[in-house]
């Protein structure tokens, strides 16, 4: 897909190398392990097995079991150890096998990691990173396919990012590690094999900054993770009809980049939010509200539209699974109707 390889916003120019999204994450962790002895990796089967999606493959051979720690099958226990380690000054990267399993560790993430800096008067910090493979499309059904970014985005004290490219997967993970507070990185499972040019050295992608992946004046699409690529594909098709769509890659759910979205909507007057999480009370609701509350309101020329996940658990049946989340054709249809003033 052309659109994917065009996505390169090199923050620190220099040498690049083609990597997959998974390799870029591993590259980020390798660099972090090399340059900072306080960085450790924790998670179920991340050692010899290499992780549920092979992202930590072979790292145990280089760094040993003291820094690449396999944890028991207890997400709550593992996350608790990671939060505790962070409180003592380590920088743990804790991998969940599936983001769905983070539900088991909510106490540690929401009630401990997110709160301690505030409850201890700023005298403690929890510099932990939670990596969460998320999203549908792998046939893994209702308990292994969810998109929880809105859940965690609702908690002050957490930062939540969703990289959509190999370059951002590395840059945002390194930015998460550099951040003094807990950061949740949602990695989309369908993107692990996506390839792209990635700077080889150390760099960070700023948290809280969206990226404009394609410029246009007819409609603004704000999308995240895999939906960025679907939106870009829809935009390419619409361009053939003379409809130029602006595609914004949200990248960061919390904090959210209000300025970039507002500026774009002031230009186009039309907004479509595309996200994989359940549509109701999802990320798109927040974006819609922030536009309605902002000065961009007076520039709106059509009702704001949202395309999100169906109001149902992700089905196992592949056809139903596809139908449960926005696809290219859905985005194309709604964006076209918006552009033509039919909504």
């Amino acid at each position: 897909m052309n659109a994917q390889t065009q996505i390169t916003e090199v923050t620190s120019p220099g040498e690049t190398r083609e990597m997959s999204y998974a390799e870029a994450i591993r590259d980020a962790m390798t660099i972090a392990l090399d340059r900072d002895p306080t960085v450790i990796l924790m998670g179920e089967d991340i050692g010899t097995y290499g992780g549920a999606f092979q992202v930590t493959l072979d790292l145990i051979d280089k760094y040993g079991p003291e820094r690449i720690m396999d944890t028991p099958i207890s997400e709550l226990g593992g996350a608790g150890v990671a939060v505790g380690a962070a409180l003592t000054g380590l920088k743990p990267i804790f991998e969940f096998q599936f983001s769905d399993f983070a539900a088991l560790a909510m106490e540690q993430i929401v009630n401990q990691a997110a709160k301690l800096r505030y409850m201890l008067g700023g005298e403690a910090a929890v510099p932990v990173v939670f990596r969460m493979p998320a999203g549908s499309g792998t046939g893994a059904a209702a308990q292994h396919s969810q998109s929880f970014e809105a859940w965690f985005g609702h908690v002050p004290g957490l930062k939540v990012v969703q990289p959509s490219t190999p370059e951002d997967a590395k840059g945002l993970l390194l930015a998460a590690l550099a951040d003094p507070d807990p950061v949740i990185v949602f990695e989309h499972k369908l993107l692990y094999k996506m390839k792209g040019q990635v700077p080889t050295g150390y760099y960070t992608t700023p948290i809280g900054k969206a990226a404009i992946r394609r410029t246009g004046d007819a409609v603004t699409i704000v999308a995240s993770a895999i939906m960025v690529h679907r939106a870009l594909e829809a935009a390419t098709k619409l361009a053939a009809e003379g409809i130029e769509v602006e595609v914004i890659d949200l990248r960061s759910v919390r904090p959210i980049d209000r300025d970039t979205i507002i500026a774009s909507v002031k230009k186009t007057g039309k907004l479509l939010c595309v996200y994989e999480g359940v549509r109701t009370l999802g990320v798109g609701a927040e974006i819609s509200a922030l536009i309605a509350e902002s000065e961009a309101f007076d520039y709106l020329d059509a009702p704001i539209q949202r395309l999100g996940g169906a109001e149902a658990p992700i089905p196992y049946n592949p056809d139903l699974e596809r139908a449960a989340v926005p696809q290219v054709a859905d985005i194309e249809t709604v964006a076209r109707r918006l552009a033509k003033g039919e909504v």
Partner: protein
């Protein structure tokens, strides 16, 4: 509760509308968004959609009746819902009469507060509201093109462009323009629209009416200068060709298709024999009409008619059909007249405004492809001209750069031929007095 169906406000200075026809009979079910009835205003005819699904009851307005904007014309009931007493009597005549003097189209004198009050019940996007507010434009005067009549940004921009045009046009009218567009002065009240597939307006008078068919990429407002020069009591019928002026956009396979579309409308509007006048492509259509309906045509007048030879300035036709700004339109328009200063920039602006709809331009480009492929007239009416029995007048400018006047020599001997000096492709605009005098004599 039954849903009230009202006479909508669909034009800037619309105070009342004529109900043309009901598409749904009393007691019939209708779905929300389906065509419910047609209305006609001073300027336009259009379809009104059902505001809700339901059974149509209590029809208060019959076809032909003039109704004040906002007055109920019928009610939509839910299935099985009891019919309540008629909420109010049919539209009061006094109310209709009270608005006989149309308010000025542009509400420059209105304060923003008044504008806001009036706009309270209108559907408009935030940006449309803001732009109207900033420009002091009353939203109630803007025709909404969005879903359920919602006023969108483009609608306000079009209304503002019209307002600016009216301002410049009223200045331009002080200097003597060769050409004028109807947007510069609203059509006189005696014009009334006729129902049908094409946009047709008529002016009452005495005697046999003169039916006029305009040329390619023009519309019937192009007749204004000639109309002023013609006898005041001559009844007139203006026909807008398909995909031109206010007629609906239509895909036509060729000239025969075009002629057929006009014949259908002609049969309906021409109650008896008429005098027929056509310019350029409209001349070819008039010629075809005379051939198909010889008994309905009393006389035929052709101004630089198409169809009498292969040569035509295809580049100019395509250029006019394609142009999307006044600047790109003006150079092509200049080819229409003999005098290079015949086309002012204001004229080009007005002409562009009449062609502001990209769909209309696309339809005309397609039509140019069909009728004039490779810059050649793909239809030949010389045989039809031989067959015409009605007395025929032909007027051609000697400096016509679109259709060479020598094509007039294809005409049989009975045709009265006038070749005007110092005149280009639009004799009715360049020298309306002479053309009117020739036509006037011809009709007698």
């Amino acid at each position: 509760m039954p849903v009230e169906v009202i006479m909508p406000k669909v034009d800037m200075d619309m105070a009342r509308g004529t109900l043309a026809i009901w598409h749904v009979a009393e007691g019939e079910a209708v779905k929300k968004g389906a065509a419910l009835f047609d209305i006609e205003t001073d300027k336009a005819a259009m379809e009104v959609e059902a505001p809700a699904s339901g059974i149509l009851r209590q029809i208060l307005a019959q076809p032909g009746q003039v109704i004040a904007v906002g007055s109920p014309v019928a009610y939509l009931y839910a299935e099985g819902e009891a019919v309540v007493g008629l909420p109010s009597a049919a539209p009061e005549t006094s109310e209709v009469m009270a608005v006989a003097d149309p308010a000025p189209a542009i509400a420059t004198a209105q304060t923003p507060a008044q504008v806001a009050d009036e706009a309270g019940d209108l559907r408009a996007t935030p940006v449309a509201r803001r732009l109207a507010r900033e420009a002091g434009l009353a939203l109630a005067e803007v025709l909404g093109s969005g879903p359920r009549g919602r006023i969108q940004r483009a609608d306000v921009e079009t209304a503002l462009a019209r307002r600016e045009l009216k301002a410049t046009a009223s200045q331009a009218l002080q200097s003597p323009p060769i050409l004028s567009y109807a947007t510069q002065n609203t059509p006189p009240l005696e014009w009334s629209p006729q129902p049908g597939d094409l946009h047709v307006t008529t002016r009452k008078g005495t005697g046999t009416p003169l039916a006029m068919i305009h040329g390619f990429a023009a519309d019937s407002t192009g007749w204004l200068a000639l109309e002023r020069a013609l006898p005041r009591d001559l009844p007139l019928i203006r026909i807008d060709l398909p995909s031109h002026g206010r007629s609906p956009l239509r895909r036509l396979a060729g000239f025969a298709d075009l002629a057929k579309a006009v014949v259908q409308v002609f049969d309906r509007v021409a109650e008896g024999p008429v005098h027929l006048l056509g310019h350029s492509l409209g001349g070819a259509v008039a010629l075809a009409l005379s051939d198909i309906r010889p008994r309905q045509v009393r006389t035929l007048s052709l101004l630089s008619p198409a169809g009498l030879g292969p040569e035509i300035d295809g580049a100019a036709l395509n250029g006019i059909a394609r142009a999307s700004t006044a600047d790109s339109l003006a150079p092509w328009l200049k080819r229409l007249t003999a005098r290079p200063d015949g086309i002012s920039h204001d004229f080009a602006k007005a002409a562009m405004l009449a062609r502001i709809d990209p769909d209309l331009r696309a339809a005309q480009q397609e039509l140019a492809q069909v009728l004039f492929p490779d810059g050649v007239q793909a239809f030949d009416l010389t045989a039809a001209l031989e067959r015409v029995t009605a007395p025929t007048l032909m007027v051609w400018g000697r400096d016509d750069r679109i259709l060479p006047w020598k094509q007039a020599l294809a005409a049989p001997g009975e045709v009265a031929l006038h070749l005007l000096r110092g005149v280009g492709h639009v004799p009715h605009m360049e020298d309306p007095d002479t053309v009117a005098a020739l036509i006037g004599r011809h009709l007698k």
